[in-house]
């Protein structure tokens, strides 16, 4: 026991009964528009257990922190604040690539309760990539001051993902947020995300392309989302996918075959 305690103290989990290498590891991405209090949520959840660096090959700051909940070790990755995921800027590209290729166990999207409509654009875009989403409606205190009410339960059933209303500056409801993160990350909650339905012509195109590409892309990547990106002519997604597959040589067999064909 004493041995475990010593081993643990080094890894910053001195208050845990289980040493870190025995705890289940969870990775959580934190996305959101700028000025939604995303950093406040990040700081409130991770405290001083943070370290910062750069995203590989990019001059965009990356912050990572960790916390424990129910004997699980959660790593929280703070994505750059963006309004969308269309990869218009380096920030958006970094955020998008992290969510779709690194595939965190859950993605928390921090939104501003005082201008929810604009923030929902990002939420809907993230939900197209991954169903494992927790929506955090932050700045509830400010919304109350402006007499704005947000029906969180209705929002949750509209989106089909857990929605938590918080006021991170005063720490209100952050415990509920952590609990929702845990439930989504460990798959203990059934998520039925309601995705955006586009006009019939786009939906028809998406269906056709989806069928073609689903055997070509690695498992876990949402074919509908890739199809949409191909339709909107985003060549960058192909490059990102290629880089991802080169990094991780265990790409799906179809890609391997195609590569062999190419060398001839």
């Amino acid at each position: 026991m004493a041995f475990f305690k010593g081993a643990c103290r080094k890894k910053n989990c001195w208050n845990q009964s289980v040493p870190q290498h025995q705890c289940p590891q969870m990775t959580i991405a934190l996305a959101g528009n700028p000025n939604t209090g995303k950093s406040t949520v990040f700081n409130a959840l991770t405290g001083l257990r943070q370290h910062t660096g750069n995203w590989p090959g990019k001059t965009v700051q990356r912050a990572e922190g960790s916390f424990y909940y129910k004997n699980k070790h959660f790593t929280l990755v703070d994505l750059p604040g963006t309004y969308s995921l269309f990869a218009n800027s380096v920030d958006e590209q970094v955020a998008r690539d992290y969510i779709c290729f690194t595939r965190p166990d859950a993605t928390v999207i921090v939104t501003d309760a005082t201008c929810l409509e604009r923030n929902l654009n990002l939420v809907l875009q993230v939900m197209e990539i991954t169903p494992r989403v927790v929506v955090c409606v932050n700045l509830m205190d400010e919304a109350e001051r402006k007499y704005i009410r947000v029906d969180v339960d209705l929002l949750s059933s509209e989106l089909g993902v857990p929605v938590i209303a918080t006021a991170a500056r005063s720490g209100r409801s952050l415990d509920k947020l952590i609990d929702a993160i845990d439930r989504v990350a460990s798959g203990r909650i059934k998520i039925t995300p309601r995705l955006v339905t586009y006009d019939s012509e786009i939906e028809y195109l998406v269906q056709r392309i989806e069928l073609k590409i689903s055997p070509l892309i690695p498992a876990g990547l949402n074919p509908r989302w890739v199809a949409l990106r191909l339709i909107d002519g985003d060549r960058g997604i192909i490059d990102s996918l290629q880089i991802y597959l080169d990094d991780d040589k265990k790409g799906s067999p179809q890609w391997g075959e195609e590569k062999i064909l190419c060398t001839r």
Partner: protein, 469 residues
């Protein structure tokens, strides 16, 4: 190696889509997808958000109307800058003296210990007069202004005032061919130019980012504020009645900051017309709502992240620099020390810039960190003359004016040179890391240096011609 790009199956599919869709429809696809998302967001928000129709005054809007108005925006910015600097100048004065007195008393104690232990004179000189004294100077001169300036600055940041500054200045920067966000990176430069250079990442366009990086140096960083504040208190403040001394000193520092901003704009304009040609890009600047600042966060961030960080860095650089200066001042060739020799050979050149050889030496040795320019200068002066402990502003005045013939113009030249010269070693290293280019790092070193030489030279000529000194 295989060529992946051309035969990637997804690329083939993308090419097929491009073939099937007529080009005008192709371009509309992104818009239609965005429309789809926006429509859904609007529908959902319409269902879940309800606004109570209570008569309420939109205070944010009202405050913004004043703060960003054409008429009052600028005077308010100047007043705020003045108030912050005035608080720093007045507030720093007393603790600075107390700290200096305490630290120099400790020096006497240390000297006593060394003598008692029978340590050789060179060891005492190296450790006490070299390392300890420069350390004591850096701490006593830098700590009090930082401890006041940084929390005030963080407070303005926390309130949400800085984006409004960017809004006010956007027009000027656009006319200079630069990015409106450069005013934000400029404000970061007040704290530390290295931090300012890193913050230039918020500018997307590489051209405008480079302009912002290259001109960040013209904003006096925290390492240079003490020299500006000290010299303006000793010289400019000395010229008026005691009651408004700090006000006069503040006015001088505000004037210098404004000079820095004007030169930033001029150089940005020059760069965007020559080396970095191009049109300024558009950007959306969101004015975040005003938020009640959190006292705890301000203190933690300004003390831990800024004050201690900058002070720690200064101390790390100051100690070896103090040792080096002491060695230079105490290595003798033919009865004249290396420092005196070097200062003597630079003296004629320095006179053209309104300064003397020792000052230039201090600026050159101060390249690793601007904080140590003043301590090195004083060490140079002291080691070449009689030993005086500069534990008060009066003593400083005595050293500079009484022993080395400074005038108000010498002080002004030193302050201008300090404002303009080159970024410190850390900032240069940061610029290299950010640009990954030796060429731009060299330009970041030489361009401000030429500006500083040009300005001080022209000013010296003008002042001599008019017979003011």
């Amino acid at each position: 190696m295989y060529q992946v790009g051309s035969c990637n199956p997804l690329t083939k599919i993308l090419d097929e889509i491009n073939r099937d869709l007529p080009p005008e429809e192709k371009n509309a696809m992104r818009d239609r997808i965005v429309d789809g998302i926006y429509d859904s967001a609007e529908k959902i928000a319409g269902k879940v958000v309800s606004r109570e129709n209570r008569k309420q005054i939109n205070w944010d809007q009202k405050i913004d109307d004043i703060i960003t108005s054409r008429l009052l925006g600028f005077p308010l910015m100047l007043i705020l800058l003045g108030v912050v600097l005035w608080l720093t100048v007045t507030g720093a004065n007393y603790p600075s003296q107390v700290l200096a007195a305490a630290l120099f008393r400790l020096q006497d104690l240390l000297s006593g210990l060394f003598i008692q232990a029978g340590a050789p004179a060179w060891l005492h000189g190296l450790l006490v007069e070299g390392a300890y004294m420069s350390l004591a100077w850096v701490v006593s001169v830098m700590l009090p202004p930082m401890a006041i300036f940084f929390p005030l600055f963080t407070l303005l940041e926390d309130l949400g005032y800085l984006p409004r500054v960017a809004f006010n200045l956007d027009n000027f920067f656009r006319r200079a061919g630069a990015h409106g966000k450069q005013s934000l990176t400029m404000s970061m430069g007040f704290g530390c130019n290295a931090a300012g250079v890193i913050s230039c990442r918020i500018i997307e366009s590489p051209r405008e980012r480079l302009i912002a990086i290259l001109t960040n140096n013209f904003i006096p960083c925290n390492g240079r504020f003490p020299i500006l504040i000290t010299l303006s208190t000793v010289f400019m403040g000395g010229a008026v009645a005691a009651s408004c001394r700090s006000a006069a000193a503040t006015a001088v520092v505000v004037g210098l900051v404004l000079t820095g901003v004007i030169i930033t704009l001029l150089v940005s304009k020059l760069l965007s017309k020559t080396l970095l040609r191009g049109a300024p890009s558009f950007f959306i600047l969101e004015l975040p709502p005003y938020r009640r600042p959190q006292a705890g966060r301000i203190i933690i961030r300004s003390v831990l992240d800024r004050t201690l960080f900058v002070l720690g860095r200064a101390v790390v650089v100051a100690v070896p620099a103090g040792v080096a200066t002491w060695l230079l001042a105490n290595t003798f060739i033919d009865s004249s020390s290396l420092l005196c020799y070097a200062a003597g050979s630079l003296d004629a050149f320095a006179r053209h810039l309104g300064m003397d050889g020792f000052i230039l030496i201090a600026f050159i040795l101060g390249l690793p960190a601007n904080e140590i320019v003043l301590p090195i200068l004083l060490m140079g002066y002291i080691s070449s003359g009689t030993m005086v402990e500069p534990d008060s502003l009066a003593a400083l005045h005595n050293i500079l004016v009484g022993q080395h013939g400074w005038t108000w113009f010498t002080a002004l030249s030193v302050m201008l040179f300090s404002l303009l010269h080159y970024p410190c070693g850390t900032t240069l290293l940061t610029i290299f890391k950010e640009t990954r280019s030796l060429k731009w790092t060299l330009i970041a070193l030489l361009m401000p240096l030429s500006v500083a030489l040009l300005v001080t030279f022209a000013l010296t000529r003008a002042v001599r011609l008019l017979g003011l000194v």
